[in-house]
């Protein structure tokens, strides 16, 4: 029974931290915490890993280097979890650090990747990794922790969403397409034209794909939120943002697959049945720069990473879904992707006190 609960929790947490995926379940026990990838500054090598513990309400900074006695790398961009392992995708170092989830001890490093961005677990043996600067998805053999092949997309890739035997891959940088890959054959089977620069994607409880397009960095196009039928791979609806100057990002969905969240001058909230985009923010941006969000799949707590001035340590800000402010804690430099995880058991023995901050 204990193992069964553990397996259920693990599988739910995997759902939480990738841009996929299968429909989330309705119940889960609260526990564990959140791993935070602090990107650091480009080429400065000051990326780091933080962990927020639900039990102690404390944040632990600089964990990877404390535990493994070496820097994490240049731009740790995303974190995914499979089984007992956490996979930290380090973008500008071209690698994935594989660590034990409970101790953060490095197990191996997957190298040879070109500007990797996001890792999505296809099954127990296989994962896909998107790439900013290559036109292929890398296929990772999880057993050997190595690259087993590539899927040629003909364009760069960013977010990955999974449903059934399909993987949806967004062509963010300068693109306007979502590619559809058959996860059994590892072949591209379709492509869907969406708005400019599809940045993030989620799948709702009805199995539909939501694609947030930020309009491009030069603000030449209107951002839009596109809804796609994953059976027909047809575009169902486009929600157009009112101004080109808006720059929405980081689309997430709650544990029920019912409510969408994204960043656009604060945190916006939107039901999947809504006819229009939300007019105002659910949580206003108060100083700093909200950079990424994560939603607790169980209680819909909202975790916000605030990059501040992008050169000194940022913040992790937590809100209840009411939305009631809970806490604000210092992280590393440019806190980015967050991933819900199991409790890390060995923190007290492995982490020096000066890495602990409230």
């Amino acid at each position: 029974m204990k193992n069964l609960i553990k397996i259920i929790i693990l599988s739910l947490l995997v759902v939480s931290c990738t841009k996929n995926s299968t429909l989330p379940p309705s119940k889960v026990t609260i526990g564990g915490g959140v791993l935070i990838a602090n990107e650091g500054n480009y080429k400065a090598g000051n990326g780091s890993l933080s962990y927020y513990s639900y039990d102690s309400s404390k944040i632990y900074n600089d964990l990877f280097s404390s535990v493994n006695n070496r820097p994490l790398g240049d731009i740790p961009y995303s974190i995914s979890i499979k089984g007992t392992k956490a996979y930290i995708v380090v973008n500008n170092s071209g690698k994935i650090e594989v660590v034990d989830q409970s101790s953060l001890v490095s197990e191996t490093t997957i190298t040879g990747l070109i500007s990797p961005r996001i890792m999505a677990m296809i099954n127990d043996n296989k994962a896909y990794v998107s790439s900013l600067y290559s036109d292929s998805l890398a296929i990772i053999d999880l057993m050997s922790s190595s690259i087993s092949g590539y899927i040629n997309l003909g364009m760069s890739s960013e977010a990955i969403a999974l449903i059934g035997n399909k993987a949806y891959i967004s062509n963010w940088s300068g693109g306007n397409q979502v590619m559809v890959v058959n996860t059994s054959s590892d072949k591209v089977i379709d492509s869907i034209k969406v708005g400019s620069e599809p940045e993030s994607m989620v799948i709702d409880r009805l199995g539909r794909l939501w694609v947030l397009c930020d309009g491009g960095w030069s603000q030449q196009n209107y951002p839009e939120l596109d809804l796609i039928d994953t059976n027909s791979d047809e575009l169902l609806k486009s929600y157009m943002f009112p101004s080109k100057s808006e720059s929405p990002s980081c689309l997430k969905i709650d544990g029920l697959g019912q409510t969408l969240y994204f960043l656009d001058n604060g945190v916006r909230q939107m039901e999947i049945t809504a006819q229009y985009l939300p007019a105002g923010s659910f949580i206003a941006e108060s100083g700093g720069h909200y950079y990424k969000i994560a939603i607790n799949a169980v209680n819909s707590d909202i975790f916000i990473s605030d990059a501040g001035d992008y050169v000194q340590p940022g913040y992790l800000i937590i809100y209840k879904n009411t939305p009631e402010f809970v806490s604000k804690s210092r992280t590393g430099i440019i806190p980015g992707a967050m991933c819900f995880t199991l409790k890390i058991n060995s923190l007290s023995s492995s982490v020096p006190l000066n890495n602990v901050a409230r």
Binding site: R70, P71, D74, G94, S115, W217, Y310
Partner: protein, 618 residues
């Protein structure tokens, strides 16, 4: 012939663009010893300055970008001049010292703080003036300097100087290439440190200077042209394990100066026209970046100076600059004009000296708040070289073209940065005995820099330039040198120490962790020393360079440890009539110290270099 004669003789006639600047009362200025210039003739300005001055050089390694910082100020606060004309890129507002070969330069003068106001705008930290000049003698000098060293490094330097007392022509050509595939100790891989080979770090540099000088009576007309190019690959940090990104940078500069000096009675006029072109192309195959940037700068200068009453020198200078930028990183081609008028009065008597300088800048259509500087010096005892000097200045720097027009993020509404600087120093020079001379100086300084431009992330998720930073930098510098010269034996010892406390102001950001913290990559402590001995035709030099710890994060939570690097140089010179052949051997990083100047960019360990200098004089 002793070792002292191994360099090109340059002392007969000094043609200076900055006569009054050199004589400023109350300011600190130093020159690089001609022997040091000779020793670094196959190197770039970055190596020479970092090992022989207190100027901190932030370097990505041999051939990599190297930028200077005076006394805790930024790279953009240091002006690099060539014969009094600013050669900093108008786009970046700074110079890459790795692109300036020492072998092409005849003299290097360093103007600290307020002293730089005598030359150009914007040298808040200071100015490094590179001089090229003729020797007004009827002779022909040909020198060929060939070198080969570790990491497949080759260099060639050819100089031809010929003419007479009326016409001189000078030609210098420089070529250098290196594979730069040195081994370094990777101590950040978690396990035992391992030796790895540096990849994608090759560079090739070419330089050519052609100068013509005409002298008629006291009047001199000169034409100087300098072509410089560099093609280099940019290596990744030690943390990168992905495929080679094929990052590459191509720099090319053409600089041309035409100058006429007219002397009449106690006064002199000088008219200068200069045209500079800087090209910087950056290519990153992996990221599909092909950045092309071209800037052109036209400078017109007119100076008038005259002696008043025997002790005073009045100088009025007009300066008009026009910049044009053609870049695929700007929305459109961009032009900027600035005009400057400077008036200075220097009074220099035996015991007292004073300098007063005012400057007004017209930036496009706006008059800026005037800059000024005032200095005083006092000779402690008649007929001795003991001085107390003090000066105060306000110096401003107009924003760079990138700060204003880079797309996206450039801010045309930026204000100019400005600084108040205070300096007091003691200098002495004394002959202790007939062959032994002592020099010593001690300087305290303080800078308060306001409205510093900083790029920060803005509303639409890209970086914007704004006047948001303030910095206070204070510290001290001290140097001592002892020279012992006999006919067949000479020795000299030089040592310099600097302490720099450069602190961020309060940015106004809540819980600002950078407030009152030391600036990143500014060492508090720095020591340079050298010991040189010459016996007959054999000479040996040992250089020590210590750099204290440098913080790499603005909250001072991480730092690079201090390091000490020793360089060794020895040679023997065979004189043949007026000509000579000089064999020189050097070892850099003698004790194979592992260090980084910039985090995760390894520097080479021990390396060797052999060069042969053949000099023919007829």
């Amino acid at each position: 012939m002793s070792y002292l004669n191994d360099t090109i003789k340059i002392s007969e006639v000094v043609i200076s663009t900055n006569k009054s600047a050199l004589d400023q009362a109350g300011y600190k200025r130093t020159s690089i010893d001609s022997m040091v210039l000779s020793r670094y003739s196959s190197s770039n300005l970055s190596d020479m300055l970092s090992e022989n001055t207190n100027i901190f050089i932030k370097s990505y390694g041999m051939g990599g970008t190297a930028t200077p910082a005076f006394r805790g100020t930024g790279a953009g606060h240091t002006l690099i001049d060539w014969n009094g004309i600013n050669i900093n890129s108008p786009m970046l507002g700074q110079s890459d010292l790795s692109l300036l070969p020492v072998g092409l330069i005849d003299d290097v003068q360093i103007f600290f703080g307020g002293a730089s106001l005598a030359l150009n705008n914007g040298g808040i930290g200071g100015t490094i003036n590179l001089e090229t000049k003729p020797v007004w003698k009827k002779e022909t000098l040909i020198s060929l300097n060939s070198g080969v060293g570790s990491f497949s490094r080759y260099s060639e330097l050819l100089k031809v100087k010929t003419g007479n007392e009326r016409i001189q022509t000078v030609t210098k050509a420089f070529y250098q290439t290196a594979e730069n595939d040195f081994r370094y100790l990777n101590n950040i891989n978690g396990g035992e440190p391992i030796w790895q080979k540096r990849n994608n770090d090759q560079f090739r540099q070419r330089g050519l200077i052609q100068e013509l000088y005409f002298q008629s009576g006291k009047n001199i007309t000169s034409v100087n042209v300098w072509y410089q190019s560099s093609d280099r690959n940019l290596p990744a940090t030690m943390l990168t394990q992905q495929q080679n990104s094929n990052e590459r940078q191509f720099d090319e500069s053409v600089r041309a100066i035409v100058k006429y000096d007219h002397f009449k009675g106690p006064g002199s006029f000088s008219f200068t026209g200069a045209w500079m072109m800087n090209r910087l192309n950056y290519y990153n195959q992996l990221a599909s970046i092909d950045s092309k940037n071209l800037s052109e700068n036209l400078t017109l200068k007119a100076n008038y100076e005259t002696l008043i009453g025997g002790f005073s020198n009045l100088k009025i200078a007009l300066d008009e600059q026009s910049n044009v930028i053609i870049s695929n990183n700007y929305e459109h081609n961009t032009r900027r004009n600035t005009a400057t008028i400077t008036a200075s009065l220097i009074r220099n008597q035996n015991r007292f000296g004073t300098t007063i300088l005012f400057r007004e800048i017209l930036d496009r259509k706006s008059l800026l708040l005037p800059d000024f500087s005032a200095g005083i010096q006092f000779r402690l005892i008649d007929d001795t070289e003991y001085f107390i000097k003090a000066n105060i200045s306000r110096n401003s720097k107009i924003p760079t073209m990138n700060d204003m027009y880079w797309f996206p993020g450039g801010n045309p509404g930026l204000k100019n940065e400005y600084s108040f600087m205070y300096e007091i120093s003691y200098e002495m020079k004394q002959k202790i005995s007939n062959p032994l001379n002592l020099k010593y100086d001690l300087t305290f300084f303080r800078y308060s820099i306001k409205d510093m431009i900083q790029w920060h992330l803005g509303e639409y998720s890209y970086w914007n330039a704004d006047n948001i930073q303030s910095v206070t930098s204070s510290g001290m510098e001290s140097s001592v040198s002892l020279d012992y010269v006999r006919s067949h034996f000479n020795a000299s010892f030089k040592a310099a120490y600097s302490f720099t406390r450069a602190r961020n102001g309060n940015s106004g950001v809540a819980d600002d962790l950078s407030a009152r913290k030391q600036l990143v990559y500014v060492p508090e402590n720095q020591v340079n020393s050298s010991f040189r001995v010459g016996v007959g035709n054999i000479y040996t030099t040992l250089v020590l360079n210590f750099v204290g710890k440098r913080f790499t994060e603005i909250d001072n939570s991480k730092y690079l440890p201090c390091y000490m690097v020793n360089n060794f140089n020895t040679g023997i010179k065979f004189p043949v009539k007026n000509s000579s052949v000089d064999f020189n051997f050097s070892i850099d990083n003698l004790f194979n110290t592992t260090f980084q100047s910039i985090a995760y960019y390894p520097m080479p360990g021990r390396s060797y270099f052999i060069k042969i200098l053949v000099q023919l004089i007829k």
